[in-house]
Symmetry: D3
Subunit: 131 residues, 6 copies
Amino acid sequence: MTTLVEYADASPEVRAVFDDIMSTRKTDVVNNFWKALANHPATLRRTWESLKQIMAPGALDPLTKELIYLAVSATNQCPYCVASHSASARAKGMTEDMFGELLAVVGMANQTNALAAARQVPIDKQFQIPD
Amino acid sequence: MTTLVEYADASPEVRAVFDDIMSTRKTDVVNNFWKALANHPATLRRTWESLKQIMAPGALDPLTKELIYLAVSATNQCPYCVASHSASARAKGMTEDMFGELLAVVGMANQTNALAAARQVPIDKQFQIPD
Amino acid sequence: MTTLVEYADASPEVRAVFDDIMSTRKTDVVNNFWKALANHPATLRRTWESLKQIMAPGALDPLTKELIYLAVSATNQCPYCVASHSASARAKGMTEDMFGELLAVVGMANQTNALAAARQVPIDKQFQIPD
Amino acid sequence: MTTLVEYADASPEVRAVFDDIMSTRKTDVVNNFWKALANHPATLRRTWESLKQIMAPGALDPLTKELIYLAVSATNQCPYCVASHSASARAKGMTEDMFGELLAVVGMANQTNALAAARQVPIDKQFQIPD
Amino acid sequence: MTTLVEYADASPEVRAVFDDIMSTRKTDVVNNFWKALANHPATLRRTWESLKQIMAPGALDPLTKELIYLAVSATNQCPYCVASHSASARAKGMTEDMFGELLAVVGMANQTNALAAARQVPIDKQFQIPD
Amino acid sequence: MTTLVEYADASPEVRAVFDDIMSTRKTDVVNNFWKALANHPATLRRTWESLKQIMAPGALDPLTKELIYLAVSATNQCPYCVASHSASARAKGMTEDMFGELLAVVGMANQTNALAAARQVPIDKQFQIPD
C-alpha cells in the first residue's frame, strides 16, 4: 500500500519539490499524486521537472496541452488522472462545450482506432513513410 | 481479409458517402479507411456522418481536434490512425514544434497514468464528484 | 528475434502438441503462432490445452466464441490476432454482414468506454454489487 | 466534475432523447451514462441514435451483441461499462455458464494477444491481405 | 453482479481448488479473485493450475515474476490486480526502493511506447526478424 | 511523416545527446528511436536523460529492468519497443528460458487483469489502503 507523504513528514529533498510545485502553480495545495510519488524522491523530482517543462506555454498553449492530457487519460481509463486533469483543464478555461467536443473526438477516435485494426486497413500511399 | 471497395465497384449508397467525403474535404481521394468500411454500408454512413459533425469547427477548432485524435491514436498504438491523422493535422497547420510538444504531453500522460494506477492514488477531495 | 519452430526440427514434446493441433482442427497446417510458442514447450502445451478447452462448444457456440476473440483482438490492436481470428471466424460461418455488425458493436463499445471514463459516471444503484 | 442531468431539469432536446430511451427499452429508468452525456446534447443524441441502430437485431442477435460489448469493456478495464453491460446481458438471457465461458474466451484472447506481440509472430501467408 | 463463493457454500470441485491454493501458499485465506472465479469452476481450476505453474521458481525467481505481473497490471489500469500483486511482491521481498524503480521503468516504458507509435519509428535492421 | 535525423545532419545539441548515447552504451550505433525523437531536441534530451537514470543499476539490476520494459511493451502491442527491448534484454543476459517464463507471466497477467475487471472483484480487506 502506498502512503501519502505529507509536507510535515517529508525530507528536505521532497520538500524542495513540493515547494516548487506550490510556487509554480501559485497554490498551497500539493495533490495526492505528488504525495504518493514522494515515496521515491528521485521519481518525484524527475517527474515534476519533466511535467513542468512539458506543460509550460510553447508552440501549444497550456489549455490545449491539458485537453490532450485528458484525452489520453480517458482512453487509458485512469480515474485519478481524469479527475485531476479535468479540474486543471477547467481552471485553465475549458468550458462545458469544449469538454463536450473534446469527448466527442476522444470517443470517435477510440471507435475508429478499433475499426481500422479490425479491418486491417493498409496505410495509403500518401501517408506512408518513404524509405 | 477485408477488401477495399473502389468507387467504380461501389453501390449507389456507398458512392453517395464517397461523394460527400470528397466534396466535404475538397479532394478527389477517398482514403483506404472509408474503402474498407464500405464493406458494411450502414457503418460507413454512420461513421462518416458522426465524424463530419464531430470534426467540424465548434468550441474547439479543427486543428485542436486533430491533435486530440492523434493523441488517442498514439496511445492506442494504431499505426493506420497515426499515419492518417498526423497527415491531417499537418494539413490543418500542425508545425514540427507543435507535433513535438503534442508528443511530449502524450508521453508524459501515458507515464503518469501508469504511475497513478500503480500507486493507487486516492482522488483528492477537491477533485471528487459530490454525492 | 523469435524463430519459428518447424515440425521437422521440433522435439518430441513439441511434435505431440503440433499433432494434436492438426488432428483437433482437421488440418495439416500449424499456424505461426504455435511455431513461435514452441520456443518454450511448457507455454506451448499449456496455451494449447487451455485454448482447446475454452473454444470447444459449450453454453456458447464456437462461432460466438470466435466473434468475442476477434472483438478483444481488435480492441487490443493485435494485427496477428485479428488476421488469424477473422480467418477462423469466417471458417466457422461468419458472414460479411455479421462481421460488419460485430465491428459496429466493437467500435461503439470502445467509444462509450472512453466516454464513461471521461465523464466519471457513477455506477447506477441497480447495477451495483451488494455488500 | 460531471453532473447528472435529471429529467426534471432537462431541456426539451434532452427530454426527447430520454423519452426515446425509455420507450425503446420499455423502462422508466434512464441510466447515469445518459444523464452524464446529457451535458452535451449533441453527443447524447448522436450516441443514442448510433447505439439504438447498432444494438438492434440484425445478422447478430441482441444477446450476442451484448456479449461482445462486455468483452470489449472488460478488456478496456471500464468498471461502469462492465457493470451496466453485464446487467443488460443477463436481462437478455445470459446465463452464469454463458458468462463464465465468455470470460474464459476474453481472458485467453488477452493472453494470446500479448504473446503474439511479444513473439513478433509474422502473419501466415494464408491470413494475409493480398496486394 | 458476481457473487463471491465462500468455502462453506462451495462444491467439492471448488473446495479442492481452494484447498490447493491455501496449501500451496501456506495461508488460510482465499482471495476474492478466486472466490469470484469459483462461479465457473472450470475457469477457476484452469486459471489456478496455470498460475501455479507459471509463478513457481524457474529461470526467473518468484519475486521477479511478481514485479512483471505488477508492471502489466499497472499498465492495464487494473485496481484489483495492482492491490493484490503489490501485496504479493512485498511479501516476497520487494522493498520500497525496488517498487520505486519498478514504477520508474513502467512509467518510462509507457511513455516511450506512445512516442514510438506516434513517430512511426521503423524497426532497425539489427532488430528485425530475418525472412 | 517523421524523418530520421542522422548524425551528419544533426545540430550540435542533438549530436551531444547522440554522443552520450553511444558513449554510455559503448556502441557506435544510435537506434532509430533516438533519430526520430531528434526532430524535437528538447524531448530527445529529456527522454534520454530520464532513461539513462532509470535504467542504471540500482535496487533492481539492469536485466530485471529490461524484462519489465519488455512486459509493458508487449502489453501495449508496441512492435518497435518489443523488437528493441528484446534485443537489449538478450544483450544483458536474457536466455530463451527466461524469455519464455517472462512471456508466460505477461500472458497470465493480461488474462487475469481482464477476469478481475469482468467479475468486478472487490479488493480484499488485507490489500486495501487504509484511510
